[in-house]
C-alpha cells in the first residue's frame, strides 16, 4: 500500500507541479495566439487523420491476430509493438530512411511523384507509426473478448464473413475499439520526436502542438509549460472520456447481454 502511494506520488507530483502556477486565464490567453491556434488545429487534424489510418489499418490486423493462429504470429505481434519502445527520434530516423528520397519506399514513391517527408502527410505517418501499437493492442483484446457464440449465430443466419465483421464483431467490440482509438489519438497528439525528425517543424504544415512547445522552450520556459498544460488538459479530457464512455457502453452492453441465470 505504501509502495502504491509512492508510485501515485511519483506520477502525481510532476503532473501537479506542471499545472500549479499556471493561471487559467493565461491558458485562455494563449489560445488566442494565432500560432498556437494554428499548431492546435494542425495537431487536432493530423492526430485525427492518423487515428483514422490506424483504425482503418489496425482493424483487420487486430482481427487477424485475434482470430487466427499461425507461424510467426508472436513475432509479428512483437514487431507491431516495437514503435512503442523505440526512442521516437530513432523512429523518425527510421521513417526518414524508409520514406525519404533515398529510402526503400521513398524511391518507389518518388517515381510516382510523391514526396512524403516534410508534408502534413508525413506528420500523420509519424503519428500513425507511433500510435498504431496502442490501437492494435486494444482492438485485438476487444475482438478476442467478443463471445464466439454471436459470430457463430451470425454465420448460421446467412452472415457472410464481411457482413458479420461489420454488423456483429465491430459493434460488439465497440468499447475496446473506442478506447484503443482514443488512446492512440492521445498518443498521436503528444508525438514529438518522430514528427520533428521525419516531418520537420513548419508552422501550419508540420508544426504540431508538441513542436510548438519545443520552440517555446527555445525562448520562454514558462510559455512552454503553459502550452504543455494545455496539451495535458486536452489529453486528460480524452483519457477520462476513454474511461467513462466505454464503461458506460460496456455497462449498457453488459445489461443487454445479461442472460437468464442458467
Amino acid at each position: 500500500m505504501t509502495l502504491g502511494g509512492v508510485l501515485v506520488l511519483l506520477l502525481g507530483l510532476p503532473l501537479l507541479s506542471l499545472v500549479i502556477g499556471i493561471a487559467p486565464g493565461d491558458l485562455v490567453a494563449r489560445l488566442q495566439e494565432p500560432f498556437i491556434l494554428q499548431a492546435l488545429r494542425l495537431s487536432l487534424l493530423t492526430s485525427l487523420a492518423s487515428t483514422v489510418i490506424v483504425v482503418a489499418g489496425g482493424l483487420p490486423v487486430a482481427y487477424v491476430l485475434a482470430t487466427y493462429d499461425f507461424r510467426g504470429k508472436r513475432a509479428i505481434e512483437a514487431f507491431i509493438d516495437l514503435p512503442m519502445v523505440l526512442p521516437p527520434t530513432v523512429a523518425g530516423l527510421a521513417l526518414l530512411v524508409a520514406f525519404g528520397r533515398t529510402g526503400l519506399a521513398g524511391q518507389a514513391l518518388g517515381v510516382a511523384g510523391i514526396a512524403l517527408p516534410f508534408t502534413t502527410l508525413a506528420v500523420v505517418v509519424a503519428q500513425a507509426f507511433i500510435a498504431a501499437p496502442f490501437f492494435v493492442g486494444a482492438a485485438r483484446a476487444g475482438f478476442a473478448g467478443v463471445d464466439g457464440s454471436f459470430l457463430d449465430a451470425a454465420a448460421t443466419l446467412r452472415g457472410a464473413p464481411g457482413y458479420v465483421f461489420f454488423r456483429v464483431l465491430v459493434p460488439l467490440a465497440a468499447p475496446s475499439l473506442i478506447a484503443g482509438a482514443a488512446m492512440s489519438w492521445a498518443r498521436a497528439l503528444g508525438e514529438f520526436g518522430a514528427t520533428i525528425t521525419f516531418a520537420g517543424n513548419m508552422p501550419g504544415i508540420t508544426q504540431t502542438m508538441p513542436l510548438a512547445v519545443y520552440l517555446a522552450l527555445q525562448s520562454d520556459l514558462e510559455a512552454a509549460i503553459a502550452l504543455s498544460v494545455l496539451l495535458l488538459a486536452i489529453s486528460f479530457t480524452v483519457l477520462l472520456t476513454i474511461r467513462l464512455v466505454p464503461s458506460r457502453l460496456a455497462a449498457v452492453a453488459a445489461a443487454r447481454a445479461r442472460r437468464p441465470a442458467g
Binding site: 457463430d152 454465420a155 443466419l157 458479420v164 460488439l172 452492453a253 442472460r259 442458467g262
Partner: protein, 357 residues
C-alpha cells in the same frame, strides 16, 4: 432427407455418429454432459469441419470429408438455436429476427412482413421493439427460434433449448415448442440431456455416450428395450446383457451374463439377449430367501430415495453387482428397518424378467 456421418477427433475426445432423419420429423440427440451433443450440431451447421464422414440434406451435399467439401455455415440452409440463444445484444428483437434476411439480401419491403410472421409464429408479435436484454429467458428462446425460422431452414438445430428456463416456464415452452415442431416441414435435430424431453420430442431418439451412439430408435423402443446400461439408467430400469445357454429349455431358461446366470421363463433364441427387471419386481430380504425365487443378489443398501408424490414408495439403490435399483413401499422399508449401509438380499422371479434380442 437428412443423412449424416459425423467424425471429429479432438485431443481426448472422438466423435463418430451416423443417423438419418425424415423431413418433418424430430430427432432428439440425448446424452450426458460432454458426450458430444453440441459437437454434432456444430458439424451439422457447418461451424466446425468434419474429420471424416458427410452431411447430406435432401439431395444436397453440405459436407464430405473424402471430397474435401465443406459448405460454410452461412451458405447452408440451416437454422441453429444455440443453448445460450446468442441474441445480438446490440440489436432489438425486430433487428435480431431481420438479421438473417438482411444478410441474405432479402428485398427491404419484404422483410417487415416476414419478421412479423415469424414473431407471430412463436407467439410474441408484441415484443418486436424490445431490446434483447429486456426479455425473460422464455422470450429470448422464442426470439432465437423466430430468428432461425424466418429463413425457412431445411434443417433446424436446437441445442438444449429449454435448459436455461426455470421449471415453470420450461413446461409452458415445452408444450408450445412441441406443437410448433410438429407443424414444421423441416428436419429437426434436438439436443438435450433431459430424458423427459427426449421422450416428449423424439420421433427418433439417438442416445450418445462418449461420442458414439449407444442406442437409437423410437422413444417407445428405448423405453421398452434399453440396450445399454446408460439407457437403462435413463429409463430407470435394471438391465442385464447376456447369452442364452443352449439348448433352450422350458418352462425355465438360464441366461449367462457377466454378473452371473439369470433365470428367465423361456429364452427366445440363441445370441445376445437383453433382460430388464423393473425396480418394482425386486423384493428385498434381510436373510437369503429360500428356494422359489431363482435370482438372488447380495449387497449393501447404498441409498434410500423417497419417490414423489408423497414418498409412499422408496427407491432403494443396492451395492450389488451389477448395481440394482428396487422400488418398495414405505411400509416395507419400515418393516425391514432399511438403512443405508445395511446388508440385504435382492431377489426377483424369472417371470419378472423381460427379454428381447
Amino acid at each position: 432427407m437428412l443423412d449424416v456421418r459425423l467424425v471429429k477427433r479432438r485431443d481426448a475426445f472422438a466423435l463418430d455418429v451416423a443417423f438419418q432423419a425424415k423431413g418433418g420429423s424430430t430427432t432428439v440427440v440425448v446424452g450426458e454432459s460432454g458426450v458430444g451433443k453440441t459437437s454434432v450440431l456444430r458439424l451439422l451447421a457447418g461451424l466446425d469441419r468434419l474429420d471424416d464422414g458427410h452431411v447430406s440434406l435432401g439431395g444436397e451435399r453440405y459436407a464430405d470429408a473424402a471430397g474435401g467439401l465443406h459448405v460454410p455455415a452461412w451458405r447452408r440452409e440451416v437454422g441453429y438455436v444455440a443453448q445460450d440463444y446468442a441474441l445480438f445484444p446490440h440489436l432489438s428483437v425486430y433487428e435480431n429476427v431481420a438479421f438473417g434476411l438482411r444478410a441474405g439480401g432479402t428485398p427491404r419491403h419484404r422483410i417487415r412482413p416476414m419478421v412479423d410472421d415469424a414473431l407471430g409464429l412463436v407467439g410474441i408479435p408484441e415484443l418486436a421493439t424490445r431490446a434483447s436484454h429486456q426479455l425473460s429467458g422464455g422470450q429470448q428462446q422464442r426470439v432465437a427460434l423466430a430468428r432461425a425460422l424466418v429463413l425457412s431452414p431445411r434443417l433446424l438445430l436446437l441445442d438444449e433449448p429449454l435448459s436455461s428456463l426455470d421449471l415453470q416456464t420450461r413446461r409452458v415452452v415445452r408444450v408450445e415448442l412441441r406443437g410448433l415442431l410438429q407443424r414444421l416441414p423441416c428436419v429437426t435435430v434436438y439436443v438435450t440431456h433431459s430424458p423427459v424431453e427426449a421422450l416428449v420430442f423424439g420421433d427418433q431418439v439417438v442416445v450418445l455416450d462418449g461420442g458414439r451412439v449407444a442406442q437409437a430408435g423410437s422413444r417407445d423402443e428405448l423405453l421398452r428395450y434399453p440396450r445399454s446400461p446408460f439407457v437403462a439408467e435413463l429409463v430407470g430400469t435394471n438391465l442385464f446383457v447376456g447369452r442364452a445357454a443352449d439348448p433352450l429349455t422350458r418352462p425355465s431358461a438360464t441366461i449367462r451374463t457377466p454378473e452371473g446366470p439369470v433365470a428367465i421363463e423361456a429364452s427366445s433364441g440363441p445370441g445376445t439377449v437383453y433382460l430388464t427387471v423393473s425396480p418394482r419386481e425386486i423384493t428385498l430380504y434381510l436373510a437369503p430367501p429360500d428356494g422359489s425365487a431363482q435370482n438372488v443378489f447380495e449387497g449393501t443398501v447404498l441409498e434410500l430415495v423417497p419417490e414423489p408424490p408423497g414418498g409412499e414408495r422408496v427407491r432403494v439403490v443396492l451395492g450389488t453387482r451389477p448395481i440394482l435399483v428396487a422400488e418398495v413401499t414405505r411400509e416395507a422399508v419400515a418393516a425391514l428397518s432399511l438403512t443405508e449401509g445395511m446388508q440385504v438380499y435382492a431377489s426377483f422371479k424369472a417371470t419378472g424378467v423381460q427379454q428381447y434380442a
